[in-house]
């Protein structure tokens, strides 16, 4: 219904000065639609705050005087050795070793955001490359690539991920972060590539591809100039929805002790390390769990918002995609 009222407002009296019609790109239209989606905008704000919280992690450490890997047995643990709860010195409490939960959570936010975004982007780059090649070139290459994706999907991913992480036992934090990103991307690109391949298969038969070919365009040019831009909306949506999945993946691996190496805190490893003292120190469960949930929920809402904005025909409430 709303589209009719919009049309009506465009009708101007004949005698009035003719209004300049402004051309708007599909991306501008999508942005206009996105801005109207209150939930999506709210989640964008939450995520922006999360980025600030993560980016300023060294500042929190500096202000509180508590580096993320330093223990404070005198101030953070009570005489019986129990960690102190949220208070003046430790805003979000201390953990079982006497470290500052707030500072650690901020560093954990860095890990979650970096790994989540990097893994999702890497997976989508590989997924698009494989999907476009398989779908567009076809033939033997398609068979091989499609089967490869099927097999990746058949692998018990958590098992193999643990095995990989154990195989390349890395001691440096940076190396373990990179490996975690690669492992997550490896297990995410296949589902991505499959969807892209399907899209390319149908795009390949469209008239504008035939037109480009008859104008003498080569395969590479058609893939880059004609096929790829038509996939961008789909890729944006899929990538944004892959970020929360990747964040959860990282947290799970770190919880099991095979993700990001200690002493670098991650929300997952914070939950894993503290799990023995949750009953007496609830904040060790509440802080990382809440931040993790808030982040994944916001990314999911954002992804839904982006999907609705890019696909005006799809309606959130009809459940159609």
């Amino acid at each position: 219904m709303s589209s009719f009222t919009e049309l009506d407002s465009e009708i101007v009296p004949v005698d009035a000065e003719p209004r300049r019609v402004q051309g708007r790109t599909p991306w501008q239209l999508a942005w206009t639609r996105f801005r109207r989606d209150r939930l999506a905008v709210a989640s964008l704000v939450v995520l922006a705050l999360m980025v600030v919280f993560a980016a300023l992690a060294p500042l929190w450490a500096h202000w509180t005087g508590h580096p993320y890997d330093a223990t404070f047995p005198k101030t953070a643990l009570d005489p019986s050795g129990q960690p102190v709860g949220p208070g003046r010195h430790f805003w979000l409490g201390a953990d079982q070793l006497g470290r500052d939960v707030l500072v650690r959570a901020a560093y954990g936010a860095r890990i979650s955001l970096v790994v989540g975004v990097a893994a999702a982007v890497l997976a989508s780059v590989i997924g698009v490359a494989v999907g476009v090649l398989a779908g567009f070139v076809g033939g033997v290459l398609d068979t091989v690539l499609a089967r490869m994706m099927d097999i990746t999907l058949a692998l018990p991913y958590l098992l193999v991920a643990i095995m990989l992480a154990t195989t390349f036992q890395l001691t440096s934090v940076a190396a373990s972060v990179s490996l975690t990103i690669v492992v997550i991307a490896f297990f995410s690109f296949a589902a991505f590539g499959r969807i892209i391949r399907g899209q390319v298969l149908s795009l390949r038969e469209k008239e504008f591809i035939e037109a480009a070919r008859s104008l003498g365009a080569g395969n590479l040019r058609i893939m880059a100039v004609d096929v790829l831009p038509n996939l961008m909306a789909q890729v944006t949506v899929l990538t944004s929805l892959l970020i929360p999945t990747s964040i959860v993946f990282e947290a799970t691996l770190s919880f099991l002790g095979v993700g990001v190496r200690l002493p670098m805190p991650s929300w997952g490893s914070m939950l894993g390390e503290g799990s023995d003292v949750f009953q007496t120190a609830w904040w060790l469960l509440a802080v990382p769990a809440f931040l993790l949930l808030l982040t994944t929920l916001s990314f999911n809402l954002l992804g839904d918002g982006i999907r609705d904005a890019l696909d005006p025909r799809g309606d959130r409430h009809s459940g159609k995609k």
Partner: protein, 314 residues
């Protein structure tokens, strides 16, 4: 039809072989020195070499791989490096726990997902539907291990008072079966209920918009009958398909739930084996889990091609 099944079976064997090889290669470059684990920190170089020779680890890689495949073809998964028990026996011991875990969670998530999905689809855009949508978003954003930890935090004291042996390593499964399984079931099913609600809701809305539903309504069939008899039946096909795939895949992802709740299932077995470098057990469990995934996919494909002949042609 027969050709389709045979082709799929051959493909399944290929997948299993590839996975076995992949795991073999990974583990071969693994730095966990198993002879060190067995021999202990004080073992001499001679003892370590002797252990390697006993396990056949001193042979060239190709020979080891050949032996491994040969055993596999005879259906022999080998013996554990650590205690010499056959891998098949180890898995047989642990499998029931994992199967009960997955089966219970599967029932909860399928029934829960379909019921809420239908509820929300028949009240599209109403207050109930919005509430369900909110629940779905929260569910999809909750990692299973966080759900497990939260449930444990909320209920473990109560269960401890009731004398439920939660963390004791591997009491027999029958002991306090329901009390011990209900939390793991919910933890494992929570995210899936959300996913299946979304799936069912979408499928139901698609089907309820079809012409034949309008015809059925116009003929004066009761709304209940239209929704359940005409709508749900055809909306369930994609849901059941997905269910088969997820159920198979879930066997491999129970590690976290088993670890949090101290259940001695296949997941715990493989987690412990990875830390010990017990290669045969890791390969055995991975292969078995892959077999479940492949079988589930096969069943879904074959079942689907019975329901929908178009699948066979493609």
């Amino acid at each position: 039809m027969l050709r389709f099944v045979i082709r799929r079976l051959l493909y399944s064997v290929l997948v299993l072989w590839l996975v076995a090889t992949l795991v073999f290669v990974f583990l071969h470059i693994s730095p966990v020195p198993v002879e060190r684990v067995i021999g202990g920190p004080r073992a001499t170089t001679d003892t370590l070499a002797q252990i390697r020779a006993n396990l056949g680890l001193d042979q060239p890689v190709i020979v080891q791989y050949g032996r491994f495949l040969g055993r596999l073809l005879r259906g022999d998964l080998g013996d554990s490096y650590i205690n010499g028990t056959s891998v098949a026996a180890l898995v047989r011991d642990r499998l029931p726990t994992t199967l009960w875990l997955v089966a219970g969670a599967g029932v909860i998530w399928f029934v829960g997902g379909v019921v809420t999905g239908v509820y929300s689809a028949t009240r599209a855009r109403g207050a109930g539907d919005r509430l369900v949508t909110l629940f779905v978003l929260i569910g999809l954003s909750t990692p299973p291990f966080v759900m497990a930890l939260v449930l444990l935090y909320l209920f473990s004291t109560k269960l401890g008072e009731a004398g439920v042996p939660f963390f004791e390593a591997g009491p027999p499964l029958q002991e306090h079966f329901l009390q011990r399984m209900i939390l793991p079931w919910i933890a494992l099913a929570f995210l899936m209920v959300a996913a299946y609600t979304r799936l069912t809701r979408g499928a139901m809305l698609d089907v309820l918009g079809e012409d034949y539903i309008r015809t059925a309504r116009a003929k004066g069939i009761s709304p209940k009958r239209v929704v359940y008899r005409h709508g749900l039946r055809s909306a369930l096909t994609p849901v059941v398909t997905q269910f088969g795939i997820d159920l198979g895949a879930l066997i491999g992802s129970t590690i976290v739930t088993e670890k949090v709740f101290g259940l001695q299932g296949v997941g715990q077995l493989v987690y412990q084996s990875i830390n010990l470098g017990d290669t045969p057990v890791i390969i055995g469990v991975t292969l078995m889990v892959t077999l479940f995934v492949v079988l589930a996919n096969l069943l879904v494909d074959v079942g689907y091609s019975f329901l929908d002949p178009r699948v066979r042609l493609s």
